[in-house]
Symmetry: C2
DNA sequence: CATATTGACTAATAATTATTAGTTACATTA
DNA sequence: TAATGTAACTAATAATTATTAGTCAATATG
């Protein structure tokens, strides 16, 4: 272990050190740490050994230097993720990764870090101990991240999922939200709509900006003038969709179609439309985003765009397999399409 | 490593063995496997070493005999789960466990096994390598399981979450579905309802049986005769809830309250009631089960029971901490209550 | 009460792994 | 072309860990 040459070797902690601190022999330490059968160790001594080993950090592998077996195909891949709970996308990405691993029989170890760097480090340490051969680093919101610096010294391939690093330091995949916004809007245009409102999410989120960008691009391409009155600020919540829709309906020339930048706001939009006595899709077309479970429970079922997290998970696995090395301008950033899921909330403008 | 005495020692694979097969020196193997800096190894040799190590299974820790460091507090806990995706409960349980670990700063490593015993074994192996100190074994559906036998020889504490083993071989937690069915029904009775219909889930699922049991208990306690006509078979889907409700509404003496054994069926029930021109809660009270996200999007918002997975996750962690040893009749089976979440779908019978 | 037996350990040593200090063959440079 | 470098290794050995064969005290046993 440790460098072969020069530099003061930080002298790794040995069983003898532990034994000294615990006040017993090196042999005893070996027994305790290996749970040896055939010898008996008193609970007290055992405790002291473990205590000592822990304080000295026996065996605590430095992150950069992987433990023995590191290079050996363990068939394990690590998946770090800031949140599992808030949205189902993280689970979708994991599922995509798992399916892609299936043939190779790999195991995916997942850890949730809450975006906390200490936790990230601990989790990666644990994963390295288990001998992961690659690491997927995912965030729940699409954005640029400053990935913990130890990732760069890791010796195993790392890919970023749903996020990307400055200077393209890692291969990354994100959804193509601009294309998604474009597709949604263009679909409405193709149905004959000209007055198309959009309800955006919290504008500091990149997904919100990009979806709006796509919306504007589609309008421009169709030669429809952009009208700021048709852009409503929401915050992803049903209530905000409800209120934004009411404001639109008060306009003298009300829109005939709504592109809601997520499904929850679309559900609020539905309610406002119903309250106003408008029928979907006969009077108004609505399109959502995210393919929330909710879509199928709305009446009529909501047409939406599905985030490609499953495909992104699969992509990440295949990318890890390639063990690409960095080009001189870093690694590529891949964008994956959000497919449109046709349901019953769209109709041709009468 | 290995037993201290007797029994033909299965002779663990050493670097020397690997070196022989790879046609190089033990030193080279050491360099390759440790990714040593300061020496150069040709890609070819490196490949041969890794290949050889893999075929010989160098370092493949047997499940029962944990690797060095095993006993050392790694601050890591393993969480095995058959499915992450199908329902959000698994994520809730993980979240509960994570929160409970928070103070101690433990890391939770999660693996999804699809219920496949080989995967379970691989995942546990990987987790053991990383030095987990405890293992939570969860299933997505509440049921008795035959947990893989290696769990019993594991040296670390194991708890079952949402499932239980024959002969109480592990400490276990499950939701108290009977109490939940009882609470739901009793709430409706307290509001004055006597004709209370219930739509059950797939009857081979234990949750369905238990919720029904609770329903019958509550009726019995209130002295209301059980009427088989008021029990409709569903299959957890909205459609089945819709159809069952229509059948109930065709009854000469239609029910005034519906206890739907999950929220999806309740949403189908809502639609059937709306189609029949009945208002919730003025004309009919409805109660669901599961606290699906969907509840908040139904109008009126659905009163339901919440599954205690979060609490079960926390319980599992605290149980692991206790390192209980088996009593002569095994470990206890803990049942946790499903709390009622009051929303707007209930009213006093007029 | 002498004699096993067992629990709890250690000294000594065997087995294994890590590291140093080369060696060899080939390529570069002066 | 001799001298120098260097990539790719290995033999030898240092360092570390695992295991055997006890020791010693505290029971239990006949």
């Amino acid at each position: 272990m440790k460098k072969t040459k020069h530099e003061k070797p930080p002298r790794r902690v040995t069983m003898t050190d532990v034994a000294r601190l615990a006040g017993c022999s090196q042999a005893t330490v070996s027994f305790v740490l290996n749970n040896a059968t055939g010898v008996t160790i008193s609970a007290e001594t055992r405790g002291k050994v473990i205590e000592a080993a822990r304080t000295l950090g026996y065996g605590a592998s430095s992150l950069i230097h992987r433990p023995v077996l590191g290079n050996l195909g363990s068939g394990t891949i690590g998946f770090l993720c800031d949140q599992l709970a808030t949205t189902p996308e993280s689970v979708n990405a994991i599922e995509g990764a798992r399916q892609a691993c299936w043939d190779e029989g790999a195991t995916i170890l997942v850890a949730q870090t809450m975006g906390n760097p200490e936790r990230e480090e601990k989790a990666v340490e644990a994963m390295l101990r288990s001998g992961i051969e690659g690491l997927i680093y995912m965030t729940i919101f699409t954005r640029q991240v400053a990935p913990p610096s130890f990732l760069e010294n890791l010796q195993i391939p790392v890919v970023l999922l749903n996020c990307y690093a400055p200077e393209s330091r890692f291969p990354s995949v994100i959804p193509d939200e601009t294309a998604g916004g474009f597709a949604a809007t263009e679909t409405l245009i193709r149905l004959g709509h000209r007055r198309i409102a959009t309800i955006v999410g919290e504008p500091f989120m990149q997904a919100a900006q990009d979806r709006l960008k796509g919306y504007r691009k589609a309008l421009a391409k169709a030669g429809i003038a952009y009208d700021a009155d048709l852009v409503g600020e929401g915050n992803w919540s049903p209530t905000s969709g409800f209120e934004a829709t009411q404001r639109f309906l008060a306009l003298k020339d009300r829109p005939t179609a709504f592109f809601c930048q997520n499904d929850k706001m679309a559900s609020g939009c539905y309610n406002a439309l119903r309250d106003a006595g408008l029928r979907i899709p006969q009077d108004v077309s609505v399109i959502g985003y995210d393919d929330d479970e909710l879509c199928r429970h709305l009446r009529p079922q909501l047409t939406t765009l599905i985030l490609p997290h499953r495909a992104m998970g699969a992509w990440a696995i295949s990318e890890l397999g390639k063990r690409r090395t960095s080009g001189k301008d870093g690694y590529p950033l891949t964008k994956m399409d959000c497919n449109l899921i046709e349901r019953d909330s769209l109709a041709v403008l009468p």
